[in-house]
Each structure stands twice: as C-alpha cells, then as structure tokens.
C-alpha cells in the first residue's frame, strides 16, 4: 500500500515536471500568444464562477420562498 503510494507520487511528480517543462516551452514560444490565451481563459472562468455563485444563491432564495409559500 505504502509502496504503491510512493510509486504513484513519484510518477505524478515526474509527470508534473515534464508538463511544466513542456508548458514552459509553450508559453515562451515565438509570439507568446499562449500567454494571452491563458489570461483570457482565466478571465472567462472568473466570470463563469461568478455567474455560478449567483445562480446558486438565487436558487437558495427560491427554495426559501417556496417554503414560505407552503407555510
């Protein structure tokens, strides 16, 4: 159990290293356009998370409203 855990960890660590190196190259490639892409993706995901939180909050209010109506 412990051994396999160490194995998985070391594989993960190795994979992360490879990925980091690759993305390092990717993000420094010629025009560095990937940097812009990652910035935009971040902004977009920020907005999406914002909408999701709003959605959840409104959903909670709707539930409360229903309970009030039923009482």
């Amino acid at each position: 159990m412990k051994k396999s855990g160490v194995l998985v960890c070391s594989i993960l660590f190795f994979a992360m290293n490879v990925f980091a190196e690759e993305s390092e190259n990717l993000f420094r490639s010629s025009g560095k356009i990937y940097v812009v892409v990652s910035v935009l993706v971040t902004i977009f995901l920020g907005i999406v998370i914002y909408l999701m939180v709003l959605d959840k909050r409104i959903g909670k209010l709707e539930k409360k409203e229903e309970e009030q109506e039923n009482n």
Partner: protein, 221 residues
C-alpha cells in the same frame, strides 16, 4: 445551478472559442491581419443582441395575450441583457474600426443605425420606469417593445444595405459569404455565436429569477 447542462455546454463552447479563436489559422488579409479574429468576439455580440431582443419581442407579444408578471419579467430582462450586448458590440466595433478603418466613429451607416436602435431600446427602460402601476407599465412597455423591434430590423438589416458601408454585407451586397469566411473560421464562428448568445441567456435567466423572487416577496408583504 438550475438546469446545469446547457450552462456547462455554454462554458465548454466558449472555452473552445477563446482557445480556438486565438490559435486556429485565419486567412491572411491586408489591413485586417490578426484583427480578423474579432469576428469571433465582436460579431457574436450583435447576433446575441438580436436573438435576445427577439426573445423579448416574443414575450412582449405573449404578455399582451396572456398578461402575467412572468411574461413581463422575461421581456424586460431580455431588453436589459440585449442592451448590454449591444453596447459591448458598439464599443468593440469602435476599437476594431480605429485600427482598420482609421477612425473610432466614421459615421458608417451600420454604426449610426445600431447606435440609434440602442437609443430606442434605452427609451424602453426610461418609459418603464416612468410608470408606477405594474399592469399599466407592463402593457404599455410591451407595446413599445414591439415597436422598438420593428424599428430595429430595418435600421440594422435594410437601411445600411441601401448605401455604401464599410461593414461587409452592405452596399447592396447582402449575404454571408462576403465575410471571407473560410472553413477554419466557420468552425469557430458558429460556436462563438451560439456560445455568446447562451451566455447572455444565462445572465438573462438569473435576472428573471431574481425579478420574479422580488415580485413574490413584495406581494406577500
């Protein structure tokens, strides 16, 4: 999240549009150069606006035959989100124009017409807020909304085509192929239109739910 599947679909589409929109090869055209990629972001604002205004029109007509507060809510919030998209389209269009046409505002027929139609829709909000009684407000603004839509269609789709315009598809040359869309661009452009429109509908849905809640709350107390 309520109805999560189409929202997840929206997020996936737009992620694809943002990544693909920057990385997929585009035709090399003079003057435009890389700004051709604005097609994935500027143009869908207008498509989204028109689709969302159409939703508003449908619900305004619905309201007149079946006057419920819910129908009115959809109509108002469609106008609200449509105006947001319209202004984003206008501003992004000006940014694009400055660097390809040489001026922020060149009095292009389509620029003028879209500014006028946004003003017409802004007047809808002014009209609404000038009335206190709920039913009267909803009925009059529903009628006005139908007029606003009827004014917008010729302003955006007919009048600019009768004169020369810097926009593609104008100057007596309507149609879609003038966008110089090659296969690769269509692959991003169509998802972009669907994705941005759905994002607008998501925002609209949230606003409608909030408005309905607010209404219920006010009427219980």
């Amino acid at each position: 999240m309520k109805n999560p599947w189409w929202k997840i679909f929206t997020i996936a589409l737009l992620l694809y549009v943002i990544i693909g929109g920057f990385l997929i090869e585009t035709p090399k055209l003079p003057i435009l150069h890389e700004t051709i990629r604005n097609l994935y972001f500027h143009v869908p604002m207008w498509f989204g606006m028109i689709i969302i205004f159409t939703v508003g029109l449908v619900y305004s007509i619905k309201y007149l035959s079946n006057p419920t507060q819910e129908n009115d809510s959809v109509a108002v919030e469609a106008v609200n989100v449509g105006i947001l998209f319209g202004f984003l389209g206008l501003i992004t269009g000006m940014q694009w124009a400055q660097f390809t046409w040489g001026e922020w505002w060149s009095g292009d027929p389509k620029q003028n017409a879209s500014a006028i139609s946004l003003l017409i829709y802004l007047a809808y909000l002014v009209l609404r807020n000038s009335m206190d009684e709920d039913q009267k407000r909803a009925r009059i603004s529903a009628v006005y909304n139908i007029f606003a839509y009827a004014a917008m269609i010729p302003l955006l789709f007919v009048l600019p085509r009768l004169t020369d315009s810097l926009h593609p598809g104008s100057g007596g040359n309507p149609g879609f192929n003038v966008y110089d869309l090659d296969g690769g661009m269509r692959l991003v452009f169509y998802p972009a239109v669907i994705g941005w429109t759905l994002l607008g509908i998501w925002i609209m849905e949230l606003r409608i739910r909030l408005r309905n809640l607010n209404f219920k709350y006010l009427y219980r107390n």
